[in-house]
Amino acid sequence: MSAEIIEAWFPGLRVAGYRVTSPVDPAYNCVAWAADEVDRRWWPDDMGVYFWPAGVPRKATLDTFREAFAVRGFLPTADGTVETGIEKLAILADGWGRPTHVARQLASGGWTSKLGIHEDIEHGTLEPLQTDFYGTVRLYLARPRPA
């Protein structure tokens, strides 16, 4: 996916700056990347095509995403302020509250996102991802940062 296409869909990234940190790899998607997995795609589709943690309902809601990441030790937190030793996730959802994207916070305070099944990028803030199709950040989760 060329920079031109990325910036066409996320014009805020061109302004705020970002860095592509991986080649295109369809093996994983944004949710898997947030869970630090790179060998499968995560999504609660009701046909069961993608992976979803066992026992968590296959429905794309903020609650199910909260439950899915709770399996990995993430709990709701107030905001995305960087905290030493704490790894945070930001879940974006559209106007109907349907999750659309998950970003993971780096130790530096910036964020890393897998754009669909295309490249990973690093971006300083979450604002450039808040578009009409990704929506806005609706939920923050946090856990102790793994060693």
């Binding site: 093996a27 499968r40 999504w43 589709d45 046909m47 992976f51 990704y134």
Partner: protein, 208 residues
């Protein structure tokens, strides 16, 4: 003749029936499924014409599929959530084309992997992917390609062929009973004799 049409020469007796459901014109009015004993006899001129009509219709299916697939790839948001991808109208129309496009979907998976899993699940109502492989791209592709070859026909596909044949034979028996004629069928189809019929059709399909 496209590669698809060549392959379907052996299976044209099945797909004209499928094409009737897809609304495409030119579909054969032939019986949807031949009896095993008919598999190797020479075709009549009328049957040859129906077969050609079937092959022409299959070319139309292939063309329509590729048009819809290209439109879907061009218009979709590449960064959208999966549901947004397969709710696209072109993707839904591909699903609406039914089982006739399943071999094309499998070919796409093999040559240009993309988000075709939902279409395959929706059309076939099958799920050949083991639980442990959900979300793993390569194993999912391989599971579907293995499933597509399960009827032991080179690289073709017969969706639930024995169920279709079973329904056909049942209707035929009922019809003959209504007409007061003894049924010519000797028994209900099984997976074993369907495979044998398939092999016979495939061998026969190479001749005009």
């Amino acid at each position: 003749m496209t590669r698809w049409a060549e392959r379907q020469r052996a299976l044209s007796c099945v797909f004209p029936c499928e094409l009737r459901g897809s609304g495409l014109s030119g579909a054969s009015a032939a019986t949807p499924f031949p009896l095993a004993s008919e598999a190797s006899r020479p075709r009549t001129a009328a049957e040859g014409e129906r077969k050609d009509a079937g092959l022409g219709a299959m070319g139309a299916v292939e063309q329509k599929f590729h048009e819809l697939a290209e439109r879907w790839k061009k218009e979709r948001n590449p960064f959208a959530a999966p549901e947004a991808m397969f709710l696209h109208p072109a993707y839904q129309q591909i699903i609406g084309m039914g089982t006739a496009v399943v071999p094309l979907l499998l070919l796409e998976l093999e040559q240009r992997p993309d988000e075709w899993f939902w279409a395959l699940r929706a059309i076939t109502q099958e799920d050949p992917v083991p639980e442990a492989d959900r979300g793993r791209l390569r194993p999912m592709i391989e599971a579907w390609l293995r499933w597509g070859k399960i009827w032991e026909i080179a690289d073709g596909y017969w969706p639930r062929i024995w169920e279709i044949a079973d329904a056909y034979f049942r209707k035929m028996k009922i019809k003959e009973k209504e007409l007061g004629r003894e049924s010519e069928t000797t028994g209900r189809p099984t997976k074993e004799n369907m495979r044998e019929m398939g092999r016979g059709l495939f061998r026969h399909g190479g001749r005009p």
